[in-house]
Amino acid sequence: MLLQTQNLSKNFGTVKALDQVSFQLETGKTYSIVGESGSGKTTLARLITGLERPDFGSIHLNGKLIASGSFHLSAEKRAVGLVFQDYALFPHLTVEKNIEYGIAKTKDKKRIVESLLTLVNLEGYGSRYPHELSGGQQQRVALARALAPEPQLLILDEPFSNLDTSLRNYLRTELFNILQQTGVSSIFVTHDTKDALAVSDEILILRNGQLLQQATPEKLYQQPATPYIAQLFDFLVALSPQLVQKFGYSCQPNRKYYLRSRDFKINQDTDYQIATQVKRSVFMGTYYTTYLQIEEEEIMIEHQEELKQTTMNLGWQEADLLIFD
């Protein structure tokens, strides 16, 4: 077990930034912590690195207690690396000096810096200053610097948010490959589900300071614990119990029903279906947004094909229905 947290909690004034969060991470895997701003993901990362103290709860790294309500192992003694969102490269030091900053005196600094520069594809950039590099290059220096002391765990805080969307896919793969080569255990902190899906073995979803679910990307998609998690991946349509019954499905009380928009089938033979009236259909570029009238209820769906007629059969398969307590 690499990292274990128990009931980890942190308040800022009256705001519960983190509320009794417990989870376990294994060595050698890549994790993502996903949440919108204010979800507590940054606080969680700062608690693990030791830049923030928990109010209560505990963190164990490799079985050793590193933080609790009454104990705090300071950041410099934790061997947890952090790649900052703004990279935080020391502006007065060269790339080389930045990278060797955290390497122990007894080690062969020059050789380690060389190999790290090769790893991040920045050979020959050692004598440059951070401001002479592009954003992507700065990020790779920050990564090399964080890897230099050989941390037991590496945390990357919003690593893609400062980069152009056009570069994003490419850099995501590159970053992932570098981490794979080093075999370091890592946590990506991000607000973007797509980024998380692309890089992680497991994803932790945070919302309002609480951990909603920890699962592999596949499981997270197939068995989301809450509607919130499901809508992170797809456009989700909420179906009221009355509406579900109109399709011919027998409802259980006190449950909530959802369907992913693209699981609706139009004029196809499905488990449940109903005739609907097309009220309005808007072309959105790669898809259509259509408002449908089902008796006195109205729903909105997204679909690919253009609708020619004003009435149609809307249906879905039982396996696609998402049911939450």
């Binding site: 690195t49 030791g50 830049l51 300071s74 950041a75 410099e76 003694k77 934790r78 061997a79 947890v80 690396g81 952090l82 900052f84 969102q85 703004d86 935080a88 490269l89 020391f90 502006p91 007065h92 900053y101 955290g102 122990a104 610097r145 964080a146 230099a148 002391p149």
Partner: protein, 514 residues
Amino acid sequence: MALPTLVIFVKLFAGAGETWGHIVEYLLLRYLSNSFYLAIACSLLTILLGVSTAWWSTRYEFPLRKPLEWLLILPLAIPSYTTAYAYAGIFDYGGSLELLLRPLSWGIPKVDVMNIHGLVLVLSISLYPYVYVACRAFFLHQSQNLIEAAQLLGGNSIRNFFKLILPIARPAIVGGVILVLMEVLNDYGAAKYYGVNTFTTGIFKAWFGYEEIETAVYLAALLLAMIFSLIFLEQWQRRRKKFTSQDKSRKPLKRILLSKPKQYLLLGMIALPAIFGFLIPVAQLLYWAFLTYESVLKASFFSIALQSLLIATLAAVACVLFAVLLLYTSHWNYLKSIKSLSKFGVLGYAIPGAVIAVGIYIPSLYVDRWLMKMLGAKVGLILTGTIIALIYAYVVRFLAVAYNPIASGREKIQNTLVEASYSLGKGTLFTFFKIEFPLLQTAIFSAMILVFIDVMKELPLTLLLKPYEVQTLAVKAYEYASDELVMEAALPSLLIILTGVLPVIILNKLIRRD
């Protein structure tokens, strides 16, 4: 740092000196009314000069704008008592004005500046840059959008200035005026020379004239009460409203290009304060220095200059050291109480030098008596009237001067840099010396220069606390002037101005380079 204030507060209960009754009866009302009049008149005049020059120089384009922007700050390099000497000399019988006007065989205007009204003019002309600098920085950061919005709403430029610009610039104006007021209440040299009785001259009179430190304590306490109510007022007015715009996409102010004649008119108006505040006094001093350099320029003069430089350098280093210490004890501590302590530590700048001197003289005497008792009489006075007490007093008075640039320099260092260092396994001290200190170098150097300049000019505190055998340029100039040798005061004064102007130019270069 709170020691002088505490001492004065405690000493209040020890009873007043014998002359206190006499002062209350005959002088106190005079001190009060004079100090109040000076405060109010100087505030109004410095606002008029400072705000107008700041607004015009940031809003309009005219010839010689860049050098003028500079020249407008330079009166700060001249100690106000020196400006006072210069103007006294200009308007004196047989003074420079008379010499200049005589060949024209015009009627010679008899202007008596050696009174409280003259003092107001002299202090205002030498202190308005505090308001100018504060407002200029504020106007430069104003958004073009704001003014364009006002124009679209149909206000003309004069109406916009009074209805919009002046109200939102209020924090900057008040900030500048507070500094002016502190300098006015701190002033000793100019008031003494012009024969105006203020609290500060009263403290001197009680201490040296009546030799009653108890009475000086009472006057100091009253002055302190005035200062603290000023600080309170400023804090209160600042808390009420938030004026800074959060607009990030603001456009910088565009300068307005006037017609040629109007440009020269503006140039003339803006140049006036700089001419009266800097060029004329300096010209007068140069003229005097030319007349007297043979008698003044002796070996002792160089020794005094050297002592001055040495003391100012020592004080600058000490202030910076304490400022860094103060900043980092609050940075490295989780306790809230220590954070508020740092605010208290920098209050010294508000306390007039004479008050600090009183507050340090008394305890240092106690400590020395105690030390002598413990170690025997042969150790002599270790603190009282020694360089240690003097440097300590400078630290109390000028800590804020060093603290503010270093603190704002520290704020510019992103916290993530420090956190990155921690996460790379380095402790707080290592991080300070490897990351923060290198990045703070310019700020620390600016802080040292600013303290250095202030100490070079400082008069009341130095006069009261300096060791007998030590001389500074400021003290020497003061002594010449009090001995009716005001012409001889020109050379030391000029040297002070030079040591004030040169570092500022270097500093500006440094900051530009960053």
